[in-house]
Symmetry: C2
Subunit: 244 residues, 2 copies
């Protein structure tokens, strides 16, 4: 058996959003590694070993996946959404940089529907004009970097997708982000809270920024802040294609 490492995106939650390419990789796998709630989305079967792990274990998980592939196993590392967007692909390449002996392994990255695309689709088309995506988790970068990027993103008049807006371990960051966004962009700009998108617990709510409160988000929320032209039409929210 020749080993292979596949880094695959499971999409935002609904099985109907898993690509056939990813489904085929899971069918062929001997080992699936990932954060436990994502591994739980992979059906168990004979011949498949599931390796669920905690979050904040990304680098250890990536190294273990490389090691298993080097032993000849067909390994899939799963992420929610797309594996290249604030997920496991970068962690695997970091691990690979530290372990040159594995650089000739057969490695593939399989894209998926990342949360902001699913959230945008449910809301309408708030990413229909230029936009940016920021990870608000400050485990990986200091607050001044986040604040600077938020201010520049508003100055560029990007729509802004915010991943990981809020967790129990860092409740204040998102409140500060909302303050920066209101100060830089004004209170009339629209903000979309997309909670547990494409799952049975999905809830999509849109407000003007001045009404937004940090408690409206948790780690299962994807937030999209509109640009200066983002508007409502009926029950939908969209960014016009032309610059305002």
């Amino acid at each position: 058996m020749t080993g292979r490492l596949t880094i695959a995106g499971l999409g935002p939650g609904d099985a109907a959003l898993v690509t056939p390419e990813v489904s085929a990789a899971l069918t062929d796998a001997t080992d699936v590694l990932g954060y436990a709630p994502y591994v739980a989305r992979v059906p168990a079967r004979e011949g498949l070993t599931l390796h669920p792990s905690d979050n904040r274990m990304e680098l250890r998980r990536a190294t273990e996946a490389l090691r298993l592939a080097a032993e000849g196993r067909r390994v899939v590392v799963v992420s929610s959404g797309d594996p290249g967007v604030f997920a496991m692909a970068s962690a695997v390449f970091e691990a690979l940089e530290a372990a040159p002996q594995w650089q000739e392994l057969d490695i593939r990255v399989l894209p998926g529907v990342t949360a902001m695309l699913a959230a945008a689709a449910r809301a309408g088309a708030p990413l229909g004009h230029d936009f940016c995506a920021l990870n608000l988790s400050d485990n990986l970068k200091p607050w001044p970097v986040i604040e600077k990027r938020l201010r520049l993103a508003v100055e560029a008049d990007f729509a802004i997708a915010l991943y990981n807006p809020r967790s129990a371990s860092r409740p204040e960051g998102f409140a500060r982000a909302l303050d920066v966004l209101k100060e830089a962009g004004g209170g009339e700009r629209l903000i979309i809270f997309a909670h547990a998108v494409t799952t049975p617990k999905e809830r999509i709510e849109t407000f003007p920024l001045r009404e937004a409160r940090a408690e409206m988000a948790d780690m299962a929320t994807l937030v999209i802040v509109g640009n200066s032209a983002t508007r409502r039409v009926g029950r939908w929210v969209y960014a016009p294609r032309r610059a305002s």
Copy 2:
């Protein structure tokens, strides 16, 4: 028959990247509208009317789709990639804004794998840290807006995905964009040209910005410019998760 309008993303090209949700919508459709090369990706069958149209016809196509749905047909408007990213969803909501009589129609947006995610997956993980996406088509916005956004994106140290970098009708814009990026970010930053990603003509090339020439891109190319920390590991290119 009750009419319905579905705006669906076909992914970047490979049929294995079309979500089951989109495949089901196409199976159920009576009418499919879209830019001709995208409609050509939908298998013909009895009971399905294909309505291919030219590009730059987005608003007319959107209005026609709404009209057919209002007549009771099950209409799918197809885009390449994700319909919400520089594609048909915003055009449909623009048309809907001009036609309030259709605002109660059953409308759905089905997300897809947008080109930058597929390109990033093939290259490694260049979108693994904060990033932005710009449409370089200046049909829809003036050059000074594009230049301002490029400069702010470099200042924010975003990786930058560039859609529609170059076409026969506007050959100079991308050359100017490369000049701005080199001036603002320096010549050592990595740039990825992902041509016809996930199709048989796929070609992925990475250079330092100083070696990039406008002729390396055409309308089938998705360009990703790395941030200041983007680096190579073996044959891969990735953005480390931590801010540099």
